[in-house]
């Protein structure tokens, strides 16, 4: 259990640093799409939601998991589509 935790912590720390490096130089023109695109990525919690909803364990877990799937799907589908729609408007003439 400890080694698993350390591995997850390792991944967490590296990913945070990577995140700071990746986003550091974003022009303000793209702030909104960046935010809504990142927001769509935070819908990754859908993976956890699917596991809770579909594992057929306890009724309460299935119910809560199914609710999570619903909200996370709105977040993911809506987030990516709206970002795509916004970015489609950014044109250079």
């Amino acid at each position: 259990m400890d080694s698993l935790f350390i591995m997850l912590l390792f991944v967490l720390i590296l990913a945070i640093f990577l995140g700071f490096e990746l986003i550091n130089k974003v022009p303000s023109t793209l702030h909104t799409p960046l935010m809504s695109g990142a927001n769509a990525i935070s819908g990754i919690t859908i993976v956890g939601a699917i596991l809770s909803s579909g594992s057929d364990s306890v009724l309460l877990t299935t119910i809560l998991g199914t609710g999570a799937v619903f909200f996370a799907t709105i977040n993911v589908v809506g987030g990516y589509l709206v970002t795509n729609r916004m970015l489609g408007m950014f044109k250079k003439k």
């Binding site: 986003i23 022009p27 702030h31 990142a38 956890g48 579909g54 799937v69 996370a72 709206v82």
Partner: protein, 469 residues
């Protein structure tokens, strides 16, 4: 073969690939040329993660899952397709809140699942997931309410605000510790512990967002965006899942960077934004300076046309007022007519103009303004003396000269677009009411300022027709 696609190994390899796609997607989002492709790549990563999870061995019943997936997809897709660009800040806030509640539910579902035995670390992660997810949810809903003006956008301040906040934070940690150590000292069952923690987190979200006023919305939206990522990463620790941790951390970090940029653009610390209640306090302070003298000089559209017609360079400076009156299309039309007239046209955009980071850029992009014409304060301020006409459209605090000249002003030190240094400034405004921060703006009284009263869209459209005639 079928076995392999369902194996732990294949699923985890796919998660790694999904993480790589997220990283590339985010990277490409930082340049206008590649941004749209970047978003698609990131979406591809998400699709991959979802599909392999659905195919995995752990999924036994698909019935509810399918209903929730389809219903969520329909709701999300229709919201994204039908929303107007001016209401984008609200929608982003709402989606963000849904991400938060989803993480909260995942944490709760695993906590209440007696078949899974959670260790101390996983239980701590449950606590953090529920707490941050809950704060994100109600915080985002309140931000949505304020932005869509269902709720009054003014900062809500009350006596003992910090004390109340401290009590609730303290309470949440007591519940959190009990969830982890399960000492039984509180005499509450696991289920009710979770219920109380959820309620506390939901109240905290409201308490944290209520004191934030309209002009500070870009900061709080960026911060809530960061929270939703942190909640997802915490959920990753509950279910021991790397892809949640990677994606969640990336979002958490990017949200934090945006928050920082927004704070810098207002010359304030995050603490000050969160607890300062800027708009409510400053209205009384602002009047003390009292030295502002001069008179407001109105101008009509025919005179404004003559000046614009003779100008060699024009800078449009939009603010939230442009979004309110939906003037962006008329502005673009006027900009094109000016360019045909041999005039150099640019758009000066302050990072916190509007209600979310980059709000003005999205509106102007929607109106087909080429993005290379959108310039930041640092690029435009040095050449401000050469600008013939600045057209300020519904912006106020971000062009306030007090930020440079009046040390007593609450916004002193904030980087602004120094429009008063241009040869002539047109200010399109509905009335003489002050901006969201509630501070007087001496710009309106400057020698080179001309007020063009009325609805911004109507005024600009009139100018457009003057040009055409």
């Amino acid at each position: 073969m079928n076995m392999f696609f369902q194996s732990e190994l294949f699923v985890n390899l796919s998660y790694i690939l999904a993480s790589i796609l997220f990283i590339f997607g985010l990277k490409m989002l930082s340049s206008p040329e590649t941004a749209q492709r970047g978003n698609l790549i990131s979406a591809l990563g998400m699709l991959l993660a979802i599909i392999v999870t659905l195919m995995g061995n752990n999924i036994i019943s698909y019935q509810w899952l399918a209903i929730a997936l389809i219903a969520g997809a329909i709701v999300g897709a229709s919201a994204a397709s039908f929303v107007k660009m001016t209401t984008m800040p609200e929608l982003v806030a709402l989606f963000n809140g849904f991400g938060g509640i989803a993480s909260l539910l995942v944490g709760s579902a695993e906590f209440l699942n007696i078949t899974s035995s959670l260790n101390v670390i996983a239980l701590t992660a449950v606590f953090l997931t529920v707490l941050i997810g809950g704060v994100t949810f109600t915080g985002s809903l309140l931000a949505f309410g304020k932005l869509s003006e269902i709720i009054n956008g003014k900062p809500f301040l009350y006596f003992g605000q910090r004390a109340v906040l401290t009590i609730f934070i303290f309470l949440s940690f007591i519940l959190g510790i009990e969830i982890v150590v399960d000492s039984g000292l509180l005499g509450i069952s696991r289920f009710y512990l979770l219920v109380f923690l959820t309620i506390t987190a939901l109240i905290l979200g409201v308490l944290l967002t209520a004191p934030i006023g309209g002009a500070d919305m870009p900061v709080i939206i960026a911060l809530l965006n960061s929270y939703s990522g942190v909640a997802a990463a915490a959920a990753g620790f509950v279910i021991n899942n790397n892809v949640l941790i990677v994606a969640g951390s990336l979002v958490g970090a990017s949200g934090l960077i945006l928050t920082n940029i927004m704070c810098k653009a207002m010359n304030r610390s995050l603490m000050n934004v969160l607890f300062g209640g800027f708009g409510a306090v400053s209205s009384s302070e602002g009047n003390k300076s009292g030295e502002i003298q001069g008179e407001v000089k109105p101008i009509n559209t025919s005179d404004a046309y003559l000046i614009l017609e003779a100008a060699n360079s024009v800078l449009f400076v939009p603010g939230y007022g442009m979004a309110v009156s939906q003037a962006q299309h008329s502005v673009r039309e006027l900009g094109e007519l000016l360019e045909e007239n041999g005039c150099e046209v640019n758009y000066g955009i302050h990072p916190v103009a509007g209600r979310m980071p980059g709000h003005m850029n999205v509106l102007l992009a929607e109106a087909n303004v080429s993005y290379d014409l959108l310039v930041e304060p640092d690029d435009v301020n040095p050449i401000m003396d050469t600008v013939d006409v600045c057209v300020v459209i519904g912006a106020n605090d971000v062009v306030n000269p007090d930020a440079r000249e009046n040390e007593g002003s609450p916004i002193y030190g904030m980087p602004v677009i120094e429009v008063d240094r241009a040869k002539t400034v047109f200010i399109l405004k509905r009335s003489m009411a002050s901006g969201f921060a509630g501070i007087d703006n001496p710009l309106f009284l400057k020698e080179n300022s001309r007020m063009l009263f009325g609805d911004a869209k109507e005024s600009i459209s009139t100018l457009v027709s003057e040009f055409k005639s």
